[in-house]
Assembly symmetry: C2
Homo-oligomer: 229 residues x 2
């Protein structure tokens, strides 16, 4: 059984680590960690600490969980550092995108404003929670960033950009990839694709069928992160 | 805007195609297709027909939708013909697996009985509906099969089998792949991995982090279906 993982705000280091707030509450009441139990602490910046719970305490300010970190290490950042810019899918599907991208190792997600994007309300704080929860579950040492909105024009301009589209070549794992663009349900407009082609941006397909935003974003990012190097 | 797609039971051929039952009801009442509207019909065996609705009719037996098919073609079957055998995730996540696998182009899914598999109730008919719905949405011409349960011992024996596990080599796209095994939340047991290694079965990892069953199955299948050939 894998250890419980706790997210901390301060950089991981050997010694006493005091956790308060929501994370301490969650550890004490939902995960029900016990004194003496082995846990892992993650700072979201590569730091991974292993140790055990040395004290649990509740007062009027809430729960405090003390962890004695016995060993600390720094995990390598997964490469490429991939920024995924996608149109926002409807309803609860956006959380699915963030959850899946965190698991496949994307570095960041940003909402993409394409011509056919639907205006959907989204809360960065909620997505950061989803990313943090997924990161703890899959042992991810580097936080996934939730970035600000970017237009197709800005996002598609660059040497290491890949636009996902059925009209493109099959992605073959060559070349550097730093940003992946995934379009809205209605697809890119002809103008957008022309603009990307004119700028020399790579257009790649990542499967035989048209995928929905959430599947396309997660699968294409997984393929890019897993390319042979 | 893409055309509505309708699933039919008989092989696609040019001429009149009469659709009844649940599919006709769905087309008439949910998709609200109209007489004269362009539609695509799919028989799930590679047949793709293009035509238009020539009549809509309702009687005591329910809805009938007549489509006049003007052109018919046979789509190539996506290769490799990949059978994904996965442990059953909890709750609604199984539908997510089937939906995603249909989109990435897997040929079949079967429930895998591994040592740490949790017994979950599943209904093949429901999963076939999920696969059919996803197939229509993504324009998939070949039905995804929902197969019978298979044990790890049976499933891991074969030349073109890949066992997904963090301990394996990074999947590099070489070799034939006909079956992918994805383990339960608790992972494979040491005995299972030893058994697979002893049989010469490939063990591959498909990402930098441990993924949940549903993400692992969809992303690994997507990576295999997208390998350079």
């Amino acid at each position: 059984v894998p250890h419980h993982r706790l997210q901390i705000d301060q950089p991981v280091s050997v010694g006493l680590c005091t956790i308060t707030g929501e994370e301490a509450h969650h550890a004490a009441r939902v995960k029900r960690v016990a004194v003496g139990e082995s846990v892992e602490v993650l700072d979201g910046r590569g730091g991974v600490g292993r140790g055990s719970v040395s004290a649990l305490h509740k007062d009027r300010a809430g729960w405090t969980v003390d962890v004695t970190v016995e060993s600390a290490s720094v995990a390598e950042r997964p490469l490429p550092a991939l920024e995924v810019c996608s149109a926002i899918p409807k309803g609860a599907k956006l959380s699915e995108v963030i959850d899946g991208l965190a698991q496949v190792g994307a570095a960041a997600w940003r909402p993409l404003e394409a011509a056919r994007s639907v205006r959907e309300h989204w809360r960065p704080e909620k997505l950061e929670c989803v990313a943090a929860e997924a990161s703890k579950q899959c042992g991810r040492a580097w936080r996934m960033e939730i970035g600000t909105a970017i237009t197709f024009g800005e996002a598609s301009n660059g040497a290491e950009v890949i636009v996902a589209d059925a009209s493109g070549e099959c992605f073959n794992g060559t070349g550097d990839a730093a940003r992946l663009l995934v379009g809205p349900e209605g697809g890119w407009t002809g103008e957008e694709l022309e603009q990307a082609r004119a700028a020399g941006t790579r257009i790649c397909r990542f499967g035989v069928h048209t995928m929905r935003i959430e599947t396309a974003a997660i699968v294409a990012a997984g393929i890019i992160m897993n390319r042979p190097r």
